[in-house]
Assembly symmetry: C2
Homo-oligomer: 118 residues x 2
DNA sequence: TCATAATATTCCTATAACGGAATGAATCAA
DNA sequence: TTGATTCATTCCGTTATAGGAATATTATGA
């Protein structure tokens, strides 16, 4: 096999710096037309449109036609899976106490698996 | 230009499902040798080693030689940038009240920028 | 209808990077 | 030493983009 499918899930969608930039722009400015995004972004309109296409496919943004413009809006709740995933690791860096606790849990799990996996 | 450099930042590192799987394994089981990870992962040893290489480059994991084994350990605090970034969007989906507040802020920012960007 | 504006889509090129096979390197055991 | 273990690296083929240029599409206005 070769490269795994990518642009179809949220984690990959936000892996691209420009796509994060787009999200940040939408978060700060609210709804934006494509042209406004292009104006703020050093890359051409087709590139922006394609990134918006990716974000749309994973539902992080939504569009609505307004005359001949397409206004994009943030749909941030689709980022929740990312938030939830990374939150599971928060304990490892937050407070020292939690870190100790987390390590203790690790140790416990290690003991459950007597070296494991052949 | 072509595809942007990727493997050099955390967001891209965690975009790969198998790399997330590796992180999850390390989180649940604690330190693991390469062989143990391979045993839990449907892909060959070279592939696992390469993924570990990526995770190592972005410092999400660290290695220590132990005899002829290489034991990998989670260094989750490197995930903090991701956590911080996505946390900025939490307000958009958490409580309705916050959503309203967030929208109000958006509106305010929109007014600061009279259509903007040409 | 025709021209223009605003976007999306298609075509193209360069490059990134998964994964497997083969190989290299280091370490331990006998 | 020799052989086996445990990983990392290299080489290779395949696929997936990112972005630009050109083009298609849709809506507005005259």
């Amino acid at each position: 096999m070769a490269r795994a499918a990518t642009t179809s899930d949220v984690f990959n969608a936000i892996a691209e710096p420009r796509r994060r930039q787009i999200l940040d722009l939408l978060a700060r400015r609210g709804e934006q037309g494509v042209g406004e995004l292009v104006g703020a972004m050093r890359i051409g309109q087709p590139a922006v449109s394609k990134h918006l296409g990716v974000l749309r496919r994973v539902r992080i943004v939504s569009v609505s036609r307004r005359g001949r413009r397409r206004v994009y809006r943030l749909n941030a709740k689709e980022l929740k899976p990312v938030h939830d995933w990374v939150k599971g690791y928060e304990q490892f860096w937050s407070h020292q106490i939690n870190r100790i606790k987390a390590r203790a849990e690790q140790k416990a799990r290690e003991q459950d698996q007597p070296t494991s996996e052949k």
